[in-house]
């Protein structure tokens, strides 16, 4: 087993899947010689050539639209959107076309495609290099939305996404790319899309989260344990479809739920998670369902003090978890 950081795990999985299936190809801005602005495709151009590792023009709608066409023909495009903030020019192709193709043709025409995009803040990216955009896609049946939180999960979930028969949005928190390393199995493996993961078990409070916030919550949980409070930390991993069973089980286990995500609170992912709990576990709850999320502002500012004010961190998570435990 090699020790890989997050972006290395992504790269090795792309390499593995491209070796495994000649129909898999990568397309996006600067994915070729440069290997992507975060190095996620570094070396693939040399190994697979420019037909399968294609620098695209600066046109997101085309990256996705051409990807859709090539998937209709039978290839398996892995489209890279350079920053999640720049996915919006492709929104019509994703929502109107990729998400509805199978449905409208009753399965005659399908779009097995992956759209990878780095998202998230805390890296001095300002308003347009820090956004979390997952909540723009989770209300669209026909799509799948995946957000891994560790190198090991990234490999298993990206392999699953590439082999999936439907369009998968695969969001990678750029703040994790080099922040965490772990042992990742060299052999192929799949982590099923749609299954959440208990990253830490506990009996006192339940924290439901995803992305980089998973690590903040795990750090906070360690602290909290010193105070005698054991937190269950559930990593959603897939936001569409949500793992309802795992959410309900985790909520019922402790009766106290805190939902944590970096994206803005109102009409965010946490809203649906909370609504599922209010629907299914009302009488198991000992406290109101809490949410700790980004503020409801247009996006994350650039200057360090304002960026810190926006971003979550272990301290903020610990405070919210402690307050819930004491409720």
């Amino acid at each position: 087993m090699a020790v890989l950081n997050f972006v290395e795990a992504v790269r090795e999985t792309l390499r593995q899947e491209m070796r495994r299936d000649k129909d898999v190809w990568v397309v996006g801005e600067d994915v070729g010689k440069k290997g992507g602005v975060f190095g996620a495709t570094l070396g693939l151009f040399d190994e697979f050539g420019e037909t399968r590792v294609q620098d695209s023009p600066l046109t997101e709608s085309a990256i996705v639209g051409v990807g859709i066409g090539s998937a209709l023909y039978g290839t398996k495009p892995v489209c890279e959107i350079q920053f999640a903030d720049f996915i919006f020019p492709a929104f019509n192709q994703i929502i109107s076309e990729a998400a509805k193709m199978r449905y409208r043709s009753n399965g005659d025409w399908t779009v097995p495609m992956v759209i990878r995009a780095p998202f998230g803040g805390g890296i001095h990216g300002g308003l347009y290099h820090s956004q979390s955009v997952e909540q723009y896609f989770t209300n669209t049946a026909g799509l799948k939305v995946v957000v891994p939180s560790t190198p090991r999960d990234a490999k298993g979930l990206l392999a699953a996404a590439i082999r999936d028969a439907d369009p998968v949005l695969f969001f990678e928190h750029k703040g994790l790319y080099r922040a965490i390393k772990e042992e990742v199995p060299d052999e192929e493996y799949i982590i099923p899309i749609g299954k959440a993961d208990v990253k830490r078990d506990g009996s006192d409070i339940t924290v439901i989260t995803y992305g980089k916030a998973v690590h903040f919550c795990l750090e906070a949980a360690k602290e909290l344990a010193k105070e005698g409070v054991e937190a269950l930390v559930l990593d959603l991993r897939t936001l569409l479809p949500l793992d309802r069973e795992a959410i309900i089980a985790a909520a019922k286990k402790t009766g106290k739920v805190l939902i944590v995500h970096e994206a803005g609170k109102t009409h965010g992912i946490g809203s649906e998670v909370s609504a599922i709990i209010a629907e299914e576990c009302l009488f198991d709850l000992d406290a109101p369902v809490q949410r700790l999320c980004g503020p409801d502002i247009p996006a994350m500012p650039y200057a360090s003090p304002m960026e810190k004010a926006y971003m979550l961190d272990p301290q903020k998570c610990l405070a919210a978890m402690r307050a819930l435990a004491q409720f």
Binding site: A62, V66, S70, Y73, Q93, R102, N106, W109
Partner: protein, 336 residues
């Protein structure tokens, strides 16, 4: 109408039989659409959007393609394209009646939202111009697989101003992909006329900016369209890349059954348009060419009418999909 080398269609390498076949497709396109309007007026179907005025453009263009081998991402008016590609009248009427057996969508979509997997006709949506990018992607896929495929894609002159048009032509031009971008310019986008719609007044003129030929052709002259499309098809197969063709058509009907063009077009303009009816012009050519005779014509009309009556009656008798069908084919997991 004749040339040094004889008849125009001979000069184009078209036999008399092929000429008659092309005419039959145009006739079928017109007559099917006329039937659809009757059904709509009679309250039997909810919606019609019409190819009338574009039959020559559609059939002339599609005839340069290889049904079953080439791929198509047509737009809503492309009834003629679908017929030449091999879609049957029965299938057309199944869509019109939104029946469960409709190969395009099983009744999930409105009529004229084409789709036919066996015939390589991609499923289409309503938002205009998205299909141009799909065509480019299909060509990219065929190129990767080393397949001999040319892709037909189309939209109206209004839709050609969407950003996706620009991104599609640029991408196809960069990679010299085998795509024909066919623009049917009928001078209106619903009620919006050309001068309020299209800066410069010509779609074809935009071709060179993408490093490809931009050809303007009389879309009411099926042989002229065939000639242009054939050349583009040959270029594509020869690896010389995409072509943009602007076919100048007329819109003989209102935009759709929900529209009344008398509200925004002058009576005189509507009257003058009739002189450009592509079916009338084609018929005249076939008579002058001595290929069409009165018996043959009535035989063709009878043959077309029979196919339409069969398709219409049969399709109407087919059931709707079960309501529960609405919940299916969201994801593959359903295994349906």
């Amino acid at each position: 109408m004749t040339t040094e080398t004889g008849m125009r269609h001979h000069a184009l390498g078209l036999s008399n039989e092929q000429l008659i076949e092309m005419y039959e497709y145009m006739l079928q396109t017109r007559r099917i659409d006329e039937r659809l309007w009757l059904l709509q007026r009679g309250g039997k179907i909810a919606f019609v959007i019409s190819p009338q005025g574009a039959e020559a453009a559609q059939v002339g263009c599609a005839y340069a393609f290889r049904a079953g081998q080439d791929w198509f991402t047509p737009y809503y008016r492309d009834l003629g394209i679908n017929l030449v590609a091999g879609v049957t009248p029965r299938e057309i009427f199944l869509a019109a009646f939104a029946r469960g057996a409709c190969p395009a969508s099983g009744g999930k979509q409105m009529p004229s939202h084409w789709g036919n997997r066996p015939k390589n006709v991609i499923s289409g949506s309503s938002p205009v111009t998205t299909q141009l990018l799909h065509a480019v992607g299909i060509a990219q896929g065929a190129r990767m697989r080393g397949d001999d495929v040319v892709v037909y894609t189309c939209c109206g002159e209004g839709s050609s101003n969407q950003g996706d048009f620009h991104e599609a032509l640029n991408w196809a031009g960069v990679h010299k992909l085998p795509v024909l971008f066919f623009i049917q310019n009928n001078e209106y986008a619903i009620s919006v006329s050309l001068e309020k719609q299209l800066a410069g007044g010509s779609v074809a003129k935009r071709g060179p900016g993408y490093g490809m030929p931009g050809i303007e052709v009389d879309g009411t002259d099926f042989l002229a369209v065939y000639a242009a499309a054939k050349e583009a098809h040959d270029r594509a197969r020869a690896g010389e890349g995409p072509t943009l063709i602007e076919a100048k058509c007329v819109r003989l009907t209102s935009h759709s059954s929900d529209d009344d063009q008398r509200r925004y077009r002058e009576a005189a303009e509507l009257e003058a348009m009739k002189a450009k009816d592509p079916l009338v012009k084609a018929r005249a050519y076939l008579y002058e060419a001595g290929v069409l005779t009165e018996e043959l014509e009535s035989a063709l009309e009878a043959k077309v009418a029979a196919a339409i009556n069969d398709g219409c009656d049969w399709a109407e008798a087919q059931p709707y999909a079960d309501p529960a069908f609405a919940m299916t084919h969201v994801y593959a997991e359903e295994g349906i």
